[in-house]
Symmetry: C2
Subunit: 381 residues, 2 copies
Amino acid sequence: MPTKAAPQAILEPRLLCGPGPANASPGVMEALARPPLGHLDPDIFPILLETAQMLGAVYLRDEGDGMSIPLSSTGTSGMETGMAALLEPGDTAIVGVNGYFGRRLAEIARRYGANVIAIEADWGEAVSNEKILAELDANPGTRLVAVVHAETSTGVRHDLAELGEAMKGRETFLVADCVTSLGGSELRLSDWGVDYAYSCSQKCLGMSSGMSPISISQRALDHAKAASPDYNFYMDLALLEDYWINRPPTYHHTLASPMLFGMHEALREVLDEGLEARWARHAQAGGHLQEQIRERGMTLVADPDHQLAQLTAVHVPEGIDGKEVQLRMLREHGIEIGGGLPGAPAMWRIGLMGTNASVETADRVLEALDAVLADAPVAAG
Amino acid sequence: MPTKAAPQAILEPRLLCGPGPANASPGVMEALARPPLGHLDPDIFPILLETAQMLGAVYLRDEGDGMSIPLSSTGTSGMETGMAALLEPGDTAIVGVNGYFGRRLAEIARRYGANVIAIEADWGEAVSNEKILAELDANPGTRLVAVVHAETSTGVRHDLAELGEAMKGRETFLVADCVTSLGGSELRLSDWGVDYAYSCSQKCLGMSSGMSPISISQRALDHAKAASPDYNFYMDLALLEDYWINRPPTYHHTLASPMLFGMHEALREVLDEGLEARWARHAQAGGHLQEQIRERGMTLVADPDHQLAQLTAVHVPEGIDGKEVQLRMLREHGIEIGGGLPGAPAMWRIGLMGTNASVETADRVLEALDAVLADAPVAAG
């Protein structure tokens, strides 16, 4: 076959203001391009431990409790790792479903043999903790309750602190999808009693895609390790612990050093900025965007009491071709915004995450959106 | 917690001549550092298809037969994906085991519920095709035969062409671990009748770690899709096909664009060089190294009739502290060579892969090894 030239399109930088990936910081871009290091190099092991320690600090997991590491695969693998580690066939799992990722969580729990009780809410609404707790009371042996802290498909925040408080003292594990919250809004795993959380690298942490930072409490890790090591090998937490944390280390997989360097740098930058300052920066940028969107007469998908700052889902106004608007934002302004995921109502999803969480970036997006809408593409049919 | 400075160690480039990762080419390093592109950007989809097409060409899989794509996770995930896709609990799997990775293959097949018949050979020896075929005749409903084409723990090549020829016309799937062979030595999936092969990005393809390029025949893919979609979601080939190949594409996971760009460029460079020229370059470099090693009175682990060129396992000479030699190669010469994996005899593993497959690089390694051995660290006890 003829060989292909390097694609030209990828040479034009994008401003990535969809639901993720966001643009990585200059420091992270530099880290990704560093010369590679072997996965068993003696100099890599201190970097692994520092990365794990910094990740625990960003998750606000108490030092010494369990393990916080990034997996060498994307966010969805973090979701799957938790279900694979904590569920045995026949276990009961209560799952909050108010969008695409809650639905995926329920599907994966079912694949691993769980009896799933889905607590549903409409797209844009938060799942009720009251309903979850009632179901938990009705099913006392429930293995885990899983909710989406920040639903990437709608921009809705779950009241995770409240749920964690109510579940304290129970044996049931609390699992949270923090794909869109980690590094962008308040999240305190130990205070809130979250046993297992997973996220991604490419949103509020400001790294490239490619890793899934997870955090598991000691009691959940003990449970996972006591269970028979069935199915998943790549995502086996005991084997990952033997490489990342235990010394001497045992080979498990060939960790990509560019990803490790990028993650290390991203976490370093988050801690350097300070968690509360970073959350405030995301709140300010997203608040500004949302105010401006509403001022333009457009409506938001999320219930205002549960609106995330870092991700804003906007109903496509009646008569407008939403997909064409996205394409023109990209082609005429070099800005990516997202559309709705399968099953969702027509929407745009605008993310101001990581490096892009600023009022200036919000204004750039708004200016481009105004320009496109001034000459609005009309929906077909 | 105090934030960490960027680790200094990673700023000193290494010459990576262990069993992988190898150093990436300059073109690939440049590709890895390109500005990111969203995983649903309209411009990413042609790149996905080009990458899949080029990967099929590098694997020598006939166009139109099945699917060849890189997974967003490392080589071991490609091993697991094949076992998860092709095996149902109770299926029989015949697995060749003559080193660390054959053993891992058998373990993963067992995790997915297979009745595993392991055909063993000593470390350094090839697994006998005769024994495999006898076992296959004795177990006519066998779902798959899996062998390690290039055993990364010993540098042994399996006679895959011969096995494939003998299995033609059977329903049993042929699976090959090509982690160390793809791009470095002769491999012809369609001619040889290999149904499922997996590899890694960081060895003879000359990319960074982080992806697992896999290739599956149409009949094996049909089988995987007809089976119930149990367990693995992240590695579900039907869902991956819906994102990578089928149009319109369906979101599955957030592909890391740096990895995609790196893989696209690596495959482009392989095809640009030409497969046979690239295999010959690896053969020349490895042949030179092996001749020089033998001239120094050291012995190789692999049976000479099955010695890979790209990976040379050397017995640590009596009385020498092999690990200390590795450390001094790294600290005094900036060169990584590998040691033995758990369960293996004491050895060094020297890889000349991808960009590093040259006589010049072999001589650099030999010169450093000579210098270290001139003042040889003696084994303790």
